[in-house]
Symmetry: D2
Subunit: 487 residues, 4 copies
């Protein structure tokens, strides 16, 4: 190995520079809004928002002097005090980034007010802050995903309506089966996108705040709120009220919901996110899988708008967005599996299951977000090529309608005889390179059974699309917001 | 290797005997109702029910003579005609078991009526039948799971109420943190079980029938329903109505719901099952993980009722049910991942993604079902040992309440001084093997700050359980049916 | 819901009948040899072989009277004494099937000899027997898989050799890129199959026996071998030797290897199986993925031998085996993930991680085995259609060789000018529907740069297959047994 | 929600800042050497090394003028020309980062030499460069992992030797079973670490270069190397040699191996990495799982060196490193599953499967690397507490040796009688709170059968550790380098 080339891979570098993931290996989300909303800096902002909101909630209950929260908010807003990489590095010894963050925030607040500093992170456990921050980040990411799913659904609705009756080959196990319509295919894509939208929206509505203190009893919040005077037993009931009131106030201060219980090891919110995100990745993956098939050089029935196609070959273009979406669909189910697995978390705060959630949850949010962004662009720019669809329908010389022919002829001459006639016609058509209906018209067994005109009608793929149009109509009556238009 | 021993592993045997999985490697579900409901024989019954219901639906629309469905039902009920292993073997060449099943059913019906036989499987594709059957099987399995989750939740509610104020050590990262109560822990387990119940019930309500024909257009059903006379173009609208009407009638005949579109490659129902099952496995896995920790010989705070404990050691017993539940929680997320991955299915019917669903879906249903059965028994028989809980609370010589002490003393003497006092007291308590409050009472720095009596109160773990009781009360107001009792 | 149809899904039935999985949902392995080798009955045979071999090993060290092992073997051979379903049902309370099996075996031996019965399972823990049995089963399954991989590799070698120079379109991101050869593609398939073979064979060579007793110290085997006289301390060294000697004798009696340590919670053998099986599933999945693409109606470059094609359309056939293999490739990585996850098993024997291995390991063995069987048949029967390959090469009107044209012309007229000429020629070819070389020959800019004859040569795809032939030659020199033929 | 707090989560920010992952959510690897070695900047350096090495290889074959590679290397070394975030953003449209990187490199070289610029990336496809770079990155990461595994193994060897005969409770299904030794446990940890080492080292030895051009035929490299004169058919054989020679020269220039075939869709190297990394994560996860159990407050048999324990409670410390390792073990199997799944990649370069590998492979490398770093520190600092081990051995009042007692007494008085005696003695010991051997000594049935002194010996847990010491000795003879010391 030549030293100059080898050296390029092992030179010294500042840690912060070289360790970062800035999207180089994840084009599916590089540069998207959701990527920004889920970066480490976004998490630090959310952590600071969670710390600030906690003080605000405590202040609202009279557990901190008026103005304390504003002082904390002011310190938290000073971005120069919170170095993301430094926080990451200092997180290792204690196992989570809230420990150094709370220290930095306390120090920054102390410069403004020693008294206010004493209220930073008071009574909280690291997980209270990190879980709440994760829900804030997830909330923002889900909103972005919803918007992109809406864009995709709207674009697919237009395609479904426009191509409601555009016939194309229905394909099963890679082979032509019977005709369908491009509108029905697009309506199916949209249906899955709306299913994903429903699941994302349902989770978004329920993202809870986390607050429990070290073991989820909220005891420390009451302890710190205890008066300086001796504690009598009869005061305890009130102490406990402190905890529930504080959770409500915290939810109010963050915009998140009140959970039924502290959920340090009751991970419903994270598991629900896992399910919704895996679903969405898969739903978009179906769209991508179809676009990849239909874009194949030999098929050429659709193409992406900006796939780099040449003017001379309108149906030739790299399906670049579908590729990225497909890459997302292959990753997210496994990430969701990690998150579902983390439900089985022992004790009041678990040794590993919680820590295993952080990176997969973020990765799932931004991978799905990037896929949704790509899907919206893909749907908005997708070009259909009905001519190629029509040409491909003819690839089997009429066999794509043999099901119908057999059905109709069976009713008139029995199934066995009908099958013989259709098979014989197909053989003749292939041998003589003539249309199937012409071949059949030459079969004496069919004389008097079916006319040449009816044979032409029966072998026209566009006449054998069944309920496709009505299915499209029904599917399009489903609204983005979950409602349906009355028929 | 001695030939006699070696031979035991390679002797010839009838295929059907030796290939079967009858639960030997899956004690988590062996012998449970859900195992029976999801076995191959149950699938065959469901397949036959799906075929019969389709004929019944067609008959209800006048597409088959009156009585046809009854004839089919009669043939389908003759179990001697449908050999499960034979169907499995004949499924391989075509890739699915509906092909031989439809052939066997047709033959059995033909013995009763040739005319009726012509209506068996008419217009359907294999996936119409297999997907519908899978939904019937899933429906039954989910009902069994719901019943077991209800049993578990009811038992856990009793525990939570009984132990509302039973103090125990709260544990974080494997270490004692601050006190909690066993009631709060049980309420948390129940909360997760009810979350699982909600998710299972929601999916159960929406399981759809599958009907679309070869490419999901329902075209063949109309074709077969076409009159023997020549087909005119103006009849097509009506033809298409045939499809939608048939889906409704099919849903009616099976008790399943009408899907928005044929879902051969729009796998929302399967993905939703995946999510609900992975959630449930994880939720029960949390219960099991805690029971396994608390059952440890050194901890001994709970034991399973029938774990084989001796009369001399009431807290000693193998947590056998928790072990089985834990084994389920480790498997189902990965199975769900396969199912989520299958969303990305190309074409109108996919070459592999669909086939990859069958075994993992069944395995997930029965593994979760077995875990729910075990969890119900575990919860109903769980024995708590408050004496051990109390004893373990003392394991750290009072340090488990140091958070509270520091909080209270900080308010009186400043945080730094308070920490010094608490640390010093803990050291003295450990050195002199005396209770923490006695050690602190000897500290001159605390004279006048806190009385010995208050110190005893402040170091009593049972007095530092925060809002645990109120949280239990609130959690118990949540009902099995999703509603809550007003406060 | 009509009661008759509904009832079909919920009727009473004997447990053993309806709970069984006999392959209905797994056509990929239904009826294969590996399915039989991995069924519950095969596991019971292996469990009995493990129990018998342990007695034989003990007898060989003089810890049991001569003839004891033969008596045990005789009882173990009486299949009527071991009901697989009964064992499965009785396994639930204790969490594993060895407990009831050892009881049944002891009872059967006792009928022959009470003294021999006392030696059954003596000193062993359930996991000693079950892990050893799993290795025996895996050993048999891997042998079957190896044989099928060899068949597949041999068939693919023939294809690669026959089509060493058969040109076809190389496809990237679904689009035609530059030409390749079908031989190179087949050589690649074979290369992966041989990689899989190497990994399976390496694991097969190392499958170990399991023996450790309750906590892996082998103490009980020595204790039971202790003389009836008082135990003196100086005897202990000998006692311990008993353990290691017994492991060696046990390995000898089973044909498995001696592990470095008891591996109850050191799961290297299972993890290695996971990796080899996931690899093999993926390797065969690549073959299937390509066959599925190349079988598409519009592409038609290959077809399966018995895919149900009609005589009139030789290239039309359902790729049924490829579908089954593809379904396997989607499942096994997730199963392997469960097994890798089980490495993190606490204590001397773990509460759940071990139990979670059993079903996924078996499912992985038989799913991969079924896929290997299907792949062998697929490879042996695969039909190539060079005419379609050639026709498809022309689908882009010569653009598939534009890379070469640009390369050659760049050397003569500069890259920019060359690109302009090629792009212009492609546009003209598409517009006038003439071959690319004719279009280029009309470009005055190329006059004197390149002759019409050279243009025809340069635009012939079969002349632009690079090192494909030599790569095939080199790949075919690699032998099944891991060696290579010298060039 | 108070606006100030809300704003903290949604403020505008420069994309590059906020999208980055700098380790905040991954303390397991934050700040480790392997994190730097696998960051996006490291990938860019590796991509540039791959591009440079390709030119050097071409130059070595005379396909580029002498000095070209040095010119390219010089341009590649100018870090100011390659903005990682910009490359990531520009990667999205084409789907991979090599396209913009090659453009930037070409531009940078062109400033030095237009002629040299024409040789940048000549004949290569993006995947040639990205795969080669990924192998260079993996190579560096594996070296770092190996070093940490060696450190861990060395530290564990010392522990195993020191505690060869330190008795502790063997635990099965969370319950005390029979005694074992801490040395045997440590030897088991080391055995798994060495197994991981072997698997990592085996993969490291085989990481191959990637080179094939657009469809893996190496055709373009020959085309660009073709002379300016007309191409005659007889030259082709030579042309093809160009490809194979170039692969060899490229391997030489990078230090990687020559693959049997271009592996754009033959992903053996990536799958092998997946297996070795999943194995290593699980192996370290076993160590962590045990440390977590043994660190529990109630057990306290080990503690991490710097877990923040207080001087008053030497066995109390947060097992922070074990927590991080456990979090890794929960993630990597799923990431490996994605990579195994990507084996099933269609065509010559696949639409999604390849793209889905990048992020999971990097994440697996750095997560395992971080876990190995933590494991080395954990092993080097682990403190054992033999006193607690001894105390815990007594937790069951002698029942932990009942297996031995039963074995010895059975030989003298029959199994049934022996069991009765042991059970009775245990009951008496528990009732009277006396040692088991004293209780048994009072049993008249044992008089003359066993002496009080022998009873004391037989109930001493340290005398019932079987072959533990010899197993430790044997395990320690295995060397880091795979060899073993002769006995």
């Amino acid at each position: 190995m030549t030293s100059g080339d080898a050296a390029a891979n092992s030179g010294p570098a500042a840690p912060g520079d070289t360790a970062a993931d800035v999207g180089l290996l994840a084009p599916v989300r590089a540069g998207t809004a959701v990527e920004n909303a889920t970066g480490d800096a976004a998490y630090v902002r959310a952590l600071l928002a969670a710390e600030t909101a906690l003080v605000r909630a405590q202040e609202s209950l009279g557990h901190a002097p008026a103005g304390t929260a504003d002082t904390v908010a002011s310190a938290a807003a000073d971005a120069t005090r919170f170095d993301v990489r430094s926080l990451a590095l200092r997180a290792r010894s204690g196992g989570n980034p809230v420990i150094p963050l709370a220290a930095d925030l306390t120090a920054a607040v102390a410069e403004r007010s020693e008294e206010a500093a004493a209220h930073v992170h008071r009574g909280a456990t690291s997980q209270d802050i990190l879980d709440t921050a994760a829900m804030l980040v997830a909330s923002e990411a889900l909103r972005l995903i919803l918007a992109d799913l809406d864009r995709a659904a709207a674009a697919l609705a237009l395609i479904a309506a426009e191509h409601r009756d555009t016939p194309m080959a229905g394909r099963t196990l890679t082979q032509h089966a019977v005709p369908t319509t491009f509108g029905l295919k697009a309506a199916g894509w949209r249906s899955l996108v709306l299913d994903a939208r429903d699941r994302i929206a349902a989770v978004l509505d329920t993202l809870p705040v986390q607050l429990g203190g070290a073991a989820g009893t909220l005891a420390a919040f009451a302890a710190f709120a205890e008066p300086a005077e001796p504690v009598a037993d009869e005061l305890r009931a009130t102490d406990r009220d402190t905890g529930l009131s504080l959770v409500a106030a915290y939810a109010d201060a963050t915009g998140l919901t009140v959970p039924p219980l502290p959920w340090h090891t009751l991970r419903t919110p994270v598991a629900d996110l896992a399910g919704a995100l895996a679903f969405t990745a898969g739903a978009l993956g179906k769209l991508a899988a179809d676009v990849l098939v239909l874009s194949r050089t030999e098929i050429g029935e659709v193409s992406e708008s900006t796939g780099g196609g040449s003017s001379t070959m309108p149906h030739k273009a790299n399906p670049a967005r579908a590729v990225l979406i497909a890459s997302a669909a292959r990753q997210v189910p496994a990430l969701a599996g990690i998150l579902y697995g983390a439900l089985a978390a022992e004790d009041e705060r678990p040794p590993g299951a919680w820590h295993a959630e952080w990176q997969p949850l973020r990765e799932a949010l931004r991978t799905v977000g990037g896929a949704a962004d790509a899907a919206a662009a893909l749907a908005e720019g997708l070009r259909a090529h009905p001519g190629r669809m029509r040409a491909n329908l003819g690839a089997t010389g009429g066999l794509i309608v043999s099901e119908r022919l057999t059905a109709v002829l069976s009713a008139r001459m029995g199934r066995a005889t009908a099958r013989t006639a259709v098979t014989g016609g197909a053989a003749r058509a292939a041998r003589e390179r003539i249309p199937l209906h012409e071949a059949l018209a030459q079969d004496p067994a069919l004389a008097g059974i079916v006319s040449p005109g009816e044979l032409a009608t029966l072998t026209d793929p566009s006449g054998y699309t069944g309920s496709a149009g009505l299915l499209v109509d029904r599917a399009l009556r489903r609204h983005h917001d979950g409602g349906t238009v009355p028929e």
